[in-house]
């Protein structure tokens, strides 16, 4: 098997680059919005009233309990029957935000629970309201503890974004698949697609490490 440069230049790379743009347009907003929702969900699941807690737990159980592929298909193919229509991109983005926020909430919840009770007592004793305590004392500490877990989820998201092709959202995987079935060059195509994902994950890893280092505070890092 010889390397066909022309195939790469003319066909594969342009298609994959198109797909990459769509992939990034899925991953970046999904990870940011999903993180914010995850923080809110994690806080309500930890500090909310009993009812809100149960609601949050049920949502998380549902999202974590059903394969993402099914959630995607449901949003894109089944919801229209109920009168809710999504573009392929919208369907994929929505389902990724839902999925990632459920997982993020679990990392956040773990971090919130790890904050020592004394920190909350000290804030109370100074006259902090519960909301101010969460905002100014607990979240800044919990966010640092949650960072490795949340980063892990973002890296996961980068890879499961490849499921978007199931609802005809033409991202990296979708574009690759089309080229592969048109040309039968499965080896080149999927090696190249894999390499694209590997690059994205590597860049994300470096960024997350940088962020962790930047946010680190003496006493929050094992010495």
């Amino acid at each position: 098997m010889s390397l066909d440069l022309l195939f790469f230049q003319e066909e594969l790379l342009p298609a994959l680059n198109r797909g990459l743009v769509v992939s990034l347009a899925l991953i970046i907003p999904a990870s940011l919005i999903g993180f914010v929702f995850g923080v809110v969900l994690g806080c309500t699941r930890t500090y909310g009233s009993r009812f809100v807690k149960k609601l949050g737990d049920a949502f998380t159980a549902l999202v974590r309990g059903v394969p993402l592929a099914i959630q995607l298909m449901f949003i894109y193919y089944a919801l229209p029957k109920l009168g809710v229509f999504f573009e392929p991109y919208g369907a994929a983005l929505t389902s990724f935000i839902i999925c990632t926020s459920a997982y993020q909430s679990e990392y956040i919840r773990g971090a919130l629970l790890s904050i020592h009770k004394g920190q909350i007592q000290a804030a109370k004793a100074l006259g902090f309201t519960p909301l101010k305590t969460i905002l100014w004392i607990i979240i800044p500490q919990a966010a640092r503890r949650a960072l490795p877990g949340c980063g892990n989820e973002i890296i996961y998201l980068i890879k499961y974004s490849s499921l978007a092709y199931l609802v005809t959202c033409m991202e990296l995987m979708g574009e690759g698949k089309v080229v592969a079935s048109d040309t039968f060059r499965f080896m080149e195509v999927f090696l190249a697609v894999g390499l694209y994902y590997l690059c994205m994950v590597s860049i994300a890893t470096v960024l997350l490490h940088w962020l962790e280092k930047k946010a680190s505070i003496p006493g929050f890092r094992p010495r």
Partner: protein
């Protein structure tokens, strides 16, 4: 002695299940007084202090600050009350993610609503008062135990409390660091700060306290000035306890 009553605690009781932790504890703090809570471990000293600023909700009893009853069920009033009652904990409880100066200024900003500059200026004054101006940018993990406790004092004092509750402020410190914290307490006492302190520093108590409150099994057994409870011929339970500590 100024007779103005700052804090009055009436008939505080607390039980957990069938076990009574505090029963009918009452005490009165006048302006500028330093009352000391002593007694064997498990006597309820810490719990009483926690009930006074409602970190633990008592089953019954009243708290009056400057003659006004505190409605502890009202969240807003409770927060306002707590800003006026400073608390020092045995294990410091500094905010781990904030530097020394931020630890002192955060409540000024978020609770008192001061601007960042204003709060920083005030925090700096408080850190200077406890001799920690140079350590202002260090995090709790970079401070010694004594320094941490002094930051905790600065943090509480910045709120201009009417009264300070001290829950064994020196018990978690290495012996050589106890002195620097006691010096802060002594300065506060001579400056007229109203305080109630649970402690085991008996010699310090003798030298500085205006009154001793002896607790055992959730009861306040005795209270009175140190010279009468610990004097030569005193037959008090406090004296027995003092002697048993001294003989160790």
């Amino acid at each position: 002695m100024n007779e103005q009553v700052i804090l009055e605690v009436k008939d505080i009781s607390l039980s957990v299940g069938p076990k009574s932790i505090l029963s009918h504890c009452s005490l009165t703090l006048h302006k500028g007084e330093l009352k000391v809570l002593i007694g064997p471990s498990g006597a309820g000293k810490s719990t009483l202090l926690q009930c006074i600023n409602v970190l633990t909700q008592a089953d019954s009893g009243q708290i009056l600050l400057e003659g006004r009853e505190v409605m502890t069920q009202n969240a807003k009033e409770l927060c306002c009350y707590r800003t006026k009652v400073g608390m020092i904990f045995q294990d410091f409880k500094l905010f781990d993610h904030l530097t020394a100066i931020e630890n002192v200024s955060i409540a000024l900003r978020k609770v008192r609503g001061m601007s960042k500059e204003e709060a920083k200026k005030r925090a700096m004054q408080e850190l200077e008062r406890v001799n920690l101006a140079e350590q202002r940018e260090l995090y709790p993990a970079q401070l010694s135990g004594g320094q941490k406790q002094r930051v905790a004092f600065a943090r509480a004092l910045a709120m201009d409390p009417l009264v300070l509750l001290l829950d064994e402020p020196t018990s978690a410190l290495d012996p050589e660091l106890v002195g620097e914290v006691l010096a802060v307490i002594r300065d506060l006492a001579s400056g007229g700060m109203t305080m109630i302190m649970a402690t085991h520093q008996m010699d310090f108590i003798r030298a500085i306290s205006s009154e001793i409150i002896f607790m055992e099994n959730g009861h306040i057994v005795e209270q009175g000035p140190p010279e009468s409870l610990l004097g030569e011929n005193a037959q008090s339970r406090t004296k027995q306890f003092y002697n048993s500590l001294a003989s160790v």
